[in-house]
Symmetry: C2
């Protein structure tokens, strides 16, 4: 069972921005901190900006910051906005050809399970994900150069 | 968010076997019914046999059948046995290098959500997934030839 890397990076970028909320953060910095490709992260950040979680400040000394307070960023909401699909299995998508589809109870069971999954995350905000991770930030090794 | 195709096919194969419980079913038949590759399905069926959900009867007229009553096959259990990993994101796996890892609350939130997901499926057995799908089976078009 997987969440896409796209969403994984989106959540980590939000945690990073939420922890470094006293300044603007560059994409380059997040990419280096998490050791991910800058190009990939750019797509993630653009999606976060489009969804209204992050805002970018242009120009010299510019960078990224959260567009809302951490307590106003629901984790379930981030997942829903970032995941390209919540189609757990083929039959969740349009145009399914499965012979069981018309009356399949598997789909219902998986939908119920997914709802329970999201309900837990809907009970959490980015603020809940911060806190202790500030300690982790303090332990970061300084970037070279 | 995805469940692997491997698990998707495993669940469908179990539903098919549970619905056709009055006879032995061949891999060929399931592959044709669901329009999936016989080779792929063979791997799925072997995994179902290894996990003790399905048994194979060799020889002429042989085929597959459920190894246990449908009410004794938990859907959550099938998922746990069939999914190659329950590592929702990179940091669930061993050897994670994420800088947030030592005190990341995201991991805890996702673990809680996954537990809620599986709890719903632990409350269902294959017997719960059958029932109505018997009607769907009745509506199947006969295979050519």
């Amino acid at each position: 069972m997987y969440i896409t890397q796209h969403t994984d990076y989106a959540l980590r970028a939000l945690i990073y921005l939420g922890t470094n909320d006293d300044r603007l953060v560059t994409i380059q910095e997040i990419a280096e901190r998490f050791d991910v490709s800058r190009n990939h992260l750019m797509k993630v950040v653009n999606a976060l900006i489009r969804a209204g979680f992050v805002e970018g400040v242009r120009g010299k000394g510019g960078g990224l910051r959260l567009a809302r307070a951490p307590r106003e960023i629901g984790v379930g909401d981030v997942l829903r906005q970032m995941e390209p699909g919540m189609d757990l299995v083929e039959c969740f998508a349009d145009g399914c050809q499965c012979i069981l589809d018309p009356s399949c109870r598997l789909k219902v069971a998986l939908s119920d399970a997914l709802a329970a999954f999201l309900k837990v995350l809907d009970g959490k905000t980015l603020a809940d994900l911060l806190g202790k991770s500030e300690h982790a930030i303090l332990k970061f090794h300084p970037l070279p150069g």
